[in-house]
């Protein structure tokens, strides 16, 4: 056998299969997108939907679709991607399949920053929307640094277990702070914060999409360009050093990307946990552990999950809405427990 065709038929088949799977998830997202657009307090029939999309709808239909539903769906797509990629990175860096921005307390860190902001500037309409992702990023970043420092032991570095346990502890501490803050809010603001914390896609207008988009557009390509680094980090500290990876530097960059993605999503969607956990797992089941396939698949699966959760949340208790975060937790927590029961250590 010559070297040129050493990539075996099996490898080529696997590559084609992975591409096919990625496309299938993409198609599912489009289908879900259509369903989601027609779901809600006022239903749109498929014909009405198509007509409105092509600019031939009534004024009422236009408002519902373009001002309420569409931005919201776009946000859930973006947030789902961001959280899923953030989770994939955290799982790769910590070599722990149970890492997720929610479990690690990064979401709550972003949350507490946003909540502080809301409690000091209560009127949300006046709140500078573009400021929120930065705020959330600062909160998430501070928390991540805190967790990293607390879990770091000189000479031993970061053990995945210690990282998780530290994350759980820090999250507990932050939720205590949140309780204190909650009590100082007026009832109206309280209801708003509660809904936001439960993970409602509340920023349903285009300015939120614009606030979120640059983060996604910058951070996702960086994450993808680091696929090879993630593959290597995944082997463990010693093999990665042996292969010539500047571990500390790369780990820091990757963590910053993960934190940025999580922070930006929390700022518009509140505390949506478990997407960052489930999406990488499902993706790994589909396309394997190589991050060149894993990252895009996880991103798409994350979007699909979040659109679905948001649609279910809007539909299940009509006319009131269940925040998507609750729907995700109700699906995600049992899945997490299942993974935990299956895990080896």
């Amino acid at each position: 056998m010559t070297e040129e065709n050493y990539i075996s038929a099996y490898q080529q088949k696997k590559h084609r299969k992975n591409i096919f799977l990625i496309l299938s998830v993409f198609i599912l997202i489009i289908i879900m997108f259509m369903i989601s657009m027609s779901t809600g307090f006022i239903r749109l029939t498929p014909m009405e939907l198509i007509r409105t999309l092509f600019g031939m709808g009534t004024d009422k239909q236009n408002i519902i679709l373009f001002d309420f539903r569409l931005p919201r769906i776009v946000i859930s797509i973006l947030v789902g991607m961001a959280l899923a990629v953030s989770g994939s990175i955290l799982q790769g860096v910590s070599r722990n399949a149970l890492a997720d921005p929610g479990i690690l307390g990064i979401n709550s860190g972003a949350g507490v920053a946003v909540m502080l902001f809301i409690s000091f500037f209560p009127t949300t309409t006046a709140a500078p929307v573009f400021f929120l992702p930065i705020l959330a990023f600062i909160g998430a970043g501070t928390t991540a640094i805190l967790i990293y420092v607390l879990a770091y032991k000189r000479g031993e570095g970061i053990s995945p277990t210690r990282l998780l346990l530290t994350g759980v502890a820090v999250a507990a501490g932050i939720s205590a702070v949140m309780i204190v803050l909650t009590l100082r809010l007026s009832p109206e603001n309280y209801q708003f914060v509660a809904v936001w914390m439960a993970g409602s896609i509340w920023g349903s207008n285009w300015s939120f999409v614009l606030a979120l988009l640059p983060w996604i557009l910058i951070l996702l390509p960086i994450a993808y360009s680091k696929a090879r680094v993630l593959n290597t980090l995944n082997l463990g500290e010693i093999p990665a050093t042996g292969l010539g990876l500047a571990i500390e530097k790369e780990r820091l960059i990757l963590l910053a990307v993960a934190v940025g993605l999580a922070g930006a999503s929390v700022s518009v969607s509140g505390g949506i946990g478990f997407i960052g956990l489930i999406a990488p797992h499902l993706a790994r089941q589909l396309v394997g552990a190589k991050h060149q396939y894993l990252l895009p698949t996880a991103a798409l699966v994350g979007s699909l999950l979040l659109i679905t959760a948001d649609t279910i949340g809007r539909w299940i208790l009509e006319p009131s809405e269940v925040p998507a975060g609750i729907v995700v937790a109700v699906i995600g927590a049992p899945y997490f427990l299942y993974l935990l029961a299956k895990s080896k250590a």
């Binding site: 507990a172 501490g173 609750i326």
Partner: protein
């Protein structure tokens, strides 16, 4: 015959590490400290009342005096409630840590508190105005629900209940039930009521609560003390305990029932306060050694002392507002948890 000989040999190792003198001192000193802190807590508050008035309010109650009324109707039940809650969390934590040999076991971390709180959210939403007698039953049920899930996950897994698995399962169950509670809260607009009740600590305790919960707690404590010798054995590991002829399944079952009653009762009064059951047993073990016959009563005393003082502090920090007691205890609890996670780096 031979069994008991073997048992006494092996247990010597454990008892050697126990320090009955210190334990006795804790029990006596702790009781005095407890009485003192109850007195302290009752006399200070929005209106300061001197000790003599407190004394007469308790023993020569005069319904016409406002101060007497404050003491009898508000402060006394509150302090006693705090004490009982402390006893519950601490003893439940001790039993869990002993039975699972898990240094991170605590009713809050393992999701029992969230389970009880979830059931309370259901009570608030669907049966408003339900008498406390029934609420406490729901609370037990909730604790049992999450305990069932957490232990189920742990025992299904290869390698059993490792500390990390328990904590993560607890976190996931808390997240799940927390999300459901939030959903209910948002849907029925009872959110802030629940939040106040979560955070408000023992301030709302009434005599009625104490009357309902005391018998449960007393029965559970008696049960805990009866189990204490077996728990000492279990803390050496399942295999050792079975080797010494113990029916571990039975002990674990009764132990779990005691834990559920204690955690459920405490949560029904104070809400989902964590970390008491984590800190106190560790502290007690550090002081009195590894014999659960001493650990359980001593941690009961120290637990109630901790919660009474925390409640006192919660009132004094920023009067007339109350700082949430759960947040206050988390302030001590989180660093302690981090310390344990760091220390136990290897075996965790």
């Amino acid at each position: 015959m031979s069994d008991s000989v073997e048992e006494s040999i092996d247990l010597k190792k454990v008892y050697k590490g126990s320090r009955p003198i210190i334990a006795t001192f804790i029990l006596m000193g702790g009781t005095i400290g407890l009485l003192f802190s109850i007195g302290l807590s009752v006399s200070f508050g929005a209106a300061d009342i001197d000790f003599a008035t407190v004394w007469s309010a308790v023993f020569q109650f005069n319904p016409n005096l406002t101060t007497h009324q404050i003491i009898q109707d508000i402060r006394l039940p509150r302090v006693l409630g705090a004490g009982l809650v402390g006893v519950c969390f601490a003893v439940a934590g001790s039993i869990m840590q002993g039975m699972t040999r898990n240094p991170l076991a605590d009713s809050g971390l393992l999701g029992l508190n969230a389970g009880a709180a979830f059931m309370l959210a259901i009570c608030f939403a669907f049966f408003p105005g339900l008498p406390y007698m029934y609420i406490i039953l729901f609370s037990f049920l909730g604790a049992a629900l999450s305990a069932g899930i957490v232990y189920g996950v742990g025992s299904l897994a290869k390698g059993g209940l490792t500390p990390m698995r328990l904590v993560l399962a607890g976190a996931a169950v808390s997240a799940l039930l927390g999300a459901l509670s939030e959903g209910i809260a948002i849907y029925y607009h009872i959110g802030q009521d629940l939040a106040f009740w979560y955070a408000g600590g023992v301030s709302g305790t009434k005599w009625e609560h104490l009357k309902v919960m005391s018998p449960w707690i007393i029965a559970a404590i008696i049960g805990a003390i009866m189990l204490s010798k077996s728990i000492t054995l279990l803390s050496l590991g399942d295999e050792v305990a079975i080797g010494l002829g113990q029916r571990t399944g039975k002990i674990k079952f009764f132990g779990s029932v005691v834990v559920l009653v204690l955690a459920g009762a405490a949560v029904s009064v104070v809400g989902a306060v964590g970390f008491v059951g984590l800190i106190v047993p560790h502290l007690t073990r550090f002081l009195v050694g590894n014999d659960y016959r001493w650990i359980i009563p001593c941690s009961a005393i120290l637990g109630s002392l901790l919660v009474i003082l925390a409640d006192f502090a919660a009132r004094m920090i920023n009067p007339p507002y109350e700082t949430p007691i759960g947040a206050l205890i988390a302030l001590i609890g989180v660093p302690f948890f981090l310390y344990l996670a760091r220390k136990g780096g290897k075996e965790l």
